[in-house]
């Protein structure tokens, strides 16, 4: 009798693990960057060519870095949440426009100059923010994606919580959900703002 119970026992163990697995979010990926200083960069902002942004400009504040692009479908889904959030809270959200102009936007065989790319990126992004609302204090333009590489961006959108000393405290790959915002990000931010 006993040996015929082995398959059942094995299966029960499997179900326990599957049930535990369901409670987890596979999108929460540990990043080696968490606990490290946010990589430095200097980029033009969406507003104008004479304005640049560096992470150290935010020194002394807790802030969010949100990676987005107009071509990103999931960004469209998370955007209303960010807009609502920015109206209720004073926490600054900095946008990082990631590879807004893609290779196939360029005419076949031709290369756009960096100025032309910035122009196109600004036109598209500003229109997008006008229609959907702008939750960002500013957006930095990472057209060639180099900053994205430094931050280990592997999918847009991504969101980083950075503390007063400029250290990355949390990283989320994928769209923010109301649950992640209220259970993970907000408690963390409140905690960080106390120090």
């Amino acid at each position: 009798m006993k040996k015929f119970l082995i398959p059942l026992a094995f299966f029960v163990g499997l179900v326990v693990f599957l049930a535990m697995g369901l409670q987890r979010d596979p999108r929460e990926i540990p990043s080696p960057l968490v606990g490290q200083a946010a990589p430095a960069f200097k980029l033009f902002t969406l507003a104008a060519d004479d304005q640049t942004f560096e992470p150290k400009d935010m020194h002394g504040q807790v802030w969010l870095l949100n990676v987005w692009a107009t071509w990103c479908v999931a960004c469209r889904e998370e955007h209303p949440l960010l807009v609502a959030f920015s109206k209720q809270h004073s926490l600054p959200i900095v946008g990082l426009s990631y590879k807004e102009v893609q290779a196939q936007d360029e005419p076949p065989g031709a290369k756009m100059s960096p100025q032309e790319k910035r122009l196109l990126a600004r036109q598209r992004s500003e229109k997008w923010l006008r229609t959907r609302g702008n939750p960002y204090v500013l957006t930095a333009l990472d057209l060639d994606g180099r900053v994205g590489i430094d931050y280990g961006v592997y999918g847009v959108p991504e969101t980083y919580v950075i503390d007063k000393q400029g250290v990355i405290r949390y990283k989320l790959v994928g769209a923010i959900t109301p649950e992640i915002l209220s259970k993970k990000i907000l408690p963390l931010v409140t905690e960080l703002e106390k120090t």
Binding site: P7, L8, L14, F17, L18, P26, I29, Q102, Q104, P108
Partner: protein
């Protein structure tokens, strides 16, 4: 209106399936004949309603009814009609509806073809199928209704994922699902046999053709999926050990073990309990696959929207179905008679070794697939298990399996003489060894690629199977008596396996790949082929813009092919898509995929693009092998013996 009718039909189907699940099973245990005989009409009604629901959804896609949420998410008015029809199973809700519909189709097929079955048996089988249907329909209705309305209606739909706009995708999911769902029939037969306590040769004979047909669909579906990944994803790979692929491989491996074990049970009454366990296992793994894919518990390239309620529902369903059947197994299996004894070396022992190896291989795949989940559940971190693990465990398990295929066929039932086997197979062994060492050495001397031990192993095993099967078939032809169709089916399927192994071995051993930056007029050479980029032009389709490169392939100054890889950008999604161009041949494929434009030529300033070029020797043998297995399985399933045998069993 039509979507509401579909929804209504689905609700009715749920209640009918519930009746089909409960009444005949109660009738069979109480001996109530009327309740048993109602199983067939209820199954037919259930099928009719499921068909109606399915057609209603397809209709909504064809007429572009964007007031249906699911249609607006997975279709677009620019999408060609044939893709709109295939878009029915392009997302979660529709895939489940397809699942439920196919389950009803299999059930009605059982009802139609089970005239020769005893009434109580067919009532139990249809009852079990009805219960499974009930669970699935409840899942669809409570968490994943494809007929939900979107009011006000969308102006246009979001479009079908461009990756899925391919001929392969039109037929890949239905074929694969036919296989997944088909194992439910073998499962239902096993449960019915356990319930009735009649676990005998007749049970095995009834199960075999159903299992074979399900296995054929599954083999075809997996082969097609692999071919689709190869031609559509643009990475040149054909198997990625992705959780979703593993989810289909596991029931296939179990199904293969089941087919072989059923033979021993039918012919010799051997290891019945083990065979029943395999039948339960094959379907449980189909359900587990559904859970892994549909719950979003694992991330994979087959990204489906995940909803925690769905995961919980499928997990509970899985726990109930598999848990109750394994409990039934633990309760009833000890009473099953042991069957005839078998020698240490006999066809039974080879078949047993075969199924044990397949089960262990399945366990290894299962472990690799859910290991990240276990580690995460135990708070030991996040990790992913990749191809190196699977290759490392799979090859050592499959090599003995392939080796045993030849002595397994050659050995006699009950007791075989090892000296006789050795004597018989020594020339086959010698011939295979010569090929295994000679071919790589020859290719090495021709400068086609260095010798690898894995190449020799693969070539030895495939020639061992081919030569061994050939020898056995020739000897069999010399004996008097008609040869059963199932014998040729088996030989064809085994040959298919050998062909598949040749394909894998040659691709692994001799594949060449180059990644270049190329401008118009420039050339790239790969082995003895020269590819010249002739032109670059726009090639827009109905719902996308594309850039198409035209390459001329020449060998020894002769043009042998023209390849036109594309880079597409679908209007509805920002993801650029790579359409690889493949020049297919029996001995090699030339595979070209177009990358992004890169910086212009430093001197001339001419525009240049990234281009990936692969030479893949014998890769078409992979799919030829799968097709041979499909052909073999079909041939075996068509064997008249099963139908005659079934009616004889009734008279007995």
């Amino acid at each position: 209106m039509i979507p509401e009718l579909g929804h209504f039909a689905l609700i009715l189907a749920f209640w009918i399936a519930l009746a089909q699940g409960v009444l005949p099973l109660v009738g069979a245990s109480t001996g109530h004949l009327a309740w048993q005989s109602i199983a067939k009409p209820l199954t037919a009604l259930h099928f009719g309603l499921a068909l109606l629901a399915f057609l209603a959804l397809m209709w909504s896609f064809v007429v572009n009814d964007f007031s249906v949420l699911y249609v607006s998410q997975h279709s677009n008015s620019l999408l060609p009609t044939v893709y709109r029809m295939a878009a029915v199973w392009g997302g979660h809700e529709g895939s489940l509806l397809l699942w439920a519909f196919l389950l009803a189709l299999w059930s009605v097929a059982v009802a139609v073809f089970s005239r020769s079955l005893p009434l109580a048996m067919s009532a139990r089988v249809l009852g079990v199928l009805g219960l499974i249907s009930t669970g699935f329909l409840a899942f669809i209705l409570s968490t994943s209704n494809p007929f939900d309305r979107l009011l006000p209606a969308a102006v246009d739909g979001r479009d079908l994922n461009p990756l899925l706009q391919d001929v392969g995708l039109i037929i890949h999911p239905p074929m694969l699902y036919m296989g997944y769902v088909g194992f439910s029939v073998a499962f239902a037969f096993a449960i019915a046999a356990l319930l009735s306590g009649r676990l005998d040769a007749a049970w095995a004979r009834w199960s075999r053709p159903w299992t074979l047909v399900a296995w054929v669909f599954m083999t075809f579906g997996i082969g097609l999926g692999s071919w689709w990944a190869y031609s559509e994803l643009g990475w040149g790979g054909w198997w990625f050990w992705d959780p979703v692929e593993n989810a289909s491989l596991m029931p296939w491996l179990f199904g293969t073990a089941l087919i072989h074990a059923l033979m021993a049970t039918e012919k010799r009454g051997g290891f019945k309990a083990w065979t029943v366990l395999l039948a339960i296992g094959a379907f449980s793994l189909s359900l587990l696959g559904t859970f892994l894919v549909r719950s979003g518990v694992l991330t994979s390239v087959h990204a489906f929207a995940s909803d925690p309620r769905r995961g919980v529902f499928v997990l509970i369903f899985l726990a109930v179905v598999v848990g109750s059947s394994l409990t039934l197994f633990a309760w009833r299996a000890p009473k099953v008679s042991k069957g005839g004894g078998m020698g240490l070396i006999s066809r039974e022992s080879f078949l047993l070794a075969n199924s044990v190896l397949l089960v262990v291989a399945t366990g290894a795949v299962l472990l690799g697939t859910i290991y990240p989940l276990i580690i995460d559940a135990l708070d030991l971190g996040k990790l992913s298990v990749g191809a190196p693990y699977f290759n490392a465990v799979f090859v050592p398990l499959l090599a003995p399996l392939l080796f045993l295929m030849v002595p397994g066929v050659a050995a006699s039932w009950k007791e075989a003489q090892i000296s006789q086997l050795v004597n018989r197979l020594r020339w086959v062994a010698l011939g295979s060894s010569v090929l295994a060492l000679g071919v790589p050495a020859l290719l090495d001397s021709l400068g086609q690629g260095a010798w690898l031990w894995s190449t020799s192993l693969g070539l030895f095993l495939s020639s061992w199977i081919v030569l061994g099967s050939l020898q056995h078939a020739l000897e069999r032809l010399r004996l008097p008596g008609r040869i059963a169709l199932s014998y040729w089916g088996m030989q064809t399927a085994h040959l298919g396996m050998a062909v598949l192994v040749v394909g894998i071995t040659m691709v692994k051993g001799y594949e060449l790949e180059r990644d270049v930056r190329i401008g118009i007029g420039e050339t790239v050479t790969l082995r003895d082929f020269t590819l010249q980029l002739k032109s670059m032009e726009d090639a827009d389709g109905p719902n996308y813009k594309a850039l198409r490169a035209t390459l001329e392939v020449s060998k020894d100054q002769h043009t042998i092919a023209q390849l036109t890889p594309e880079k597409r950008r679908y209007f509805s999604s920002a993801m650029p898509m790579t359409e690889a161009a493949i020049d297919s041949g029996w001995m090699r494929d030339l595979y070209v995929s177009l990358g992004d434009p890169v910086e212009p030529h430093p001197q001339t300033g001419a525009p240049r693009w990234n281009l990936h070029v692969y030479d893949k020797p014998f890769i078409s043998w992979l799919w030829a092998g799968a097709l041979l297995m499909v052909l073999g399985g079909l041939t075996a399933a068509l064997d008249k013996r099963y139908r005659r045998g079934a009616s004889r069993a009734v008279q007995a």
